[in-house]
Symmetry: C2
Subunit: 240 residues, 2 copies
């Protein structure tokens, strides 16, 4: 590998660091039961919720909507997902919906994540570059023991990935050249957008993110600067 080592590692979080699907499905079992819909497959409910997210993020810049934190968008998507199973969210206990929405604050790290991040942190500053808002990332980090040096991302820059400004502003805030900032992500589409802004790229495979099915952005694969099967392997590749 001839590419120079980065100065800072910025991590995508949902899917890369934490298992959103398994965690949201696990959380949704009791909420679905509480609203009398134990018949709904919780993993499928999580998938529907997440697919709305992917579409919303892709189109956010062109939607013309002012920036609102992801907690607000997640709530709107939860209500849409409920309508999709013929449940009117307006008649439900609003505190239950708030708590259900906070399932995204309680996502479990992949088994290698905490040890891998700790090893990487010994050599590199490690920050989040997630579309999750600060309160969400903070709660998730404290619950899961994720040792971030700083929580950056959409709420700090005011732009959602894959908007180029999300990557560029993060490098500017960190006071490093884009080439000295490496995005670590399990998603080819995210890495492609980062590379287009001049960032370095590290792909970490998370084959279970979609329950073993192919990722929706599989076709966006490129020859990334670093490729690893988990964070421990990434630490090795980066000389930690």
């Amino acid at each position: 590998m001839t590419r120079a080592l980065p100065k800072v590692l910025a991590f995508d979080v949902f899917g890369t660091v934490v298992d959103w699907r398994g965690s949201v499905a696990r959380e949704s079992i009791s909420f679905l039961a509480a609203i009398g819909r134990a018949d709904v497959d919780p993993a499928q409910f999580a998938d529907v919720w997440r697919m709305q997210y992917l579409r919303t993020m892709q189109d956010y810049a062109v939607s013309g909507r002012a920036f609102v934190p992801l907690d607000v968008l997640h709530r709107e998507m939860l209500e849409a997902a409920l309508r999709g199973i013929d449940v009117d969210p307006a008649v439900l206990d609003q505190e239950l919906l708030t708590d259900w929405n906070r399932a995204w604050h309680r996502l479990d790290p992949w088994p290698d994540a905490v040890a891998g991040l700790t090893r990487l942190k010994a050599r590199f500053p490690i920050v989040t570059l997630s579309n999750g808002n600060v309160a969400l990332m903070l709660a998730m980090a404290r619950r899961g023991g994720l040792p971030w040096d700083a929580i950056l991302g959409a709420e700090v820059t005011g732009f959602y990935k894959p908007d180029p400004r999300a990557y560029e502003a993060t490098a500017r805030i960190l006071d490093v050249a884009p080439a000295d900032l490496c995005l670590v992500a399990a998603h080819h589409s995210d890495l492609a957008a980062a590379r287009a802004c001049g960032l370095a790229t590290a792909f970490v495979g998370r084959p279970l993110e979609y329950g073993g099915r192919e990722a929706p952005d599989a076709a966006a694969r490129q020859d990334w600067d670093w490729v690893a099967g988990d964070f421990g392997e990434l630490a090795e590749r980066l000389g930690c």
Copy 2:
């Protein structure tokens, strides 16, 4: 103490967590020598630099100037301080000035800070609410071992303390009511501005901040919600 415990602790940093005066004076010794001005008292040079900062922050909102990170302002203040000792910064090595300016990235924690923060962090999320920019706070934290859960403050909100929006936006980003956010600071003026926004307040005395002289905001003292002599004592008061 009948006041309810806060949900999040937000820390002023310069003077409260780290010893800016001792550190900037120590760093300035070699820089003053490098420019042939070893005759200048480095502690007095640090004081002049800092006094400009205090004036700039106080007037920033009414100045009409767009937000720029503190690194940029510190650099302007360094150049002004140099002109104050009859040195033209334009003729100096610009890399030396950049490095000198980064003295603010290399401030030493007060002796009790790391252990106290670690103890507080076990019970409360601990975040910065400093006028220092993210890159500065991140470098300082990694060098000094400050275990922040998140780096917030001026660059994240876009407002410098004591502008009320700096405090209010921080509570909003953390998704807590102002009364559930406690500012920890060694400065009465900072705490007074926070209290005016509804925040809880904890004063930690740092009698050596100004080399043993009285603080410029001593007259702003009030009956704060918690008062402690160091972070260990604060942890005790907050039941950690």
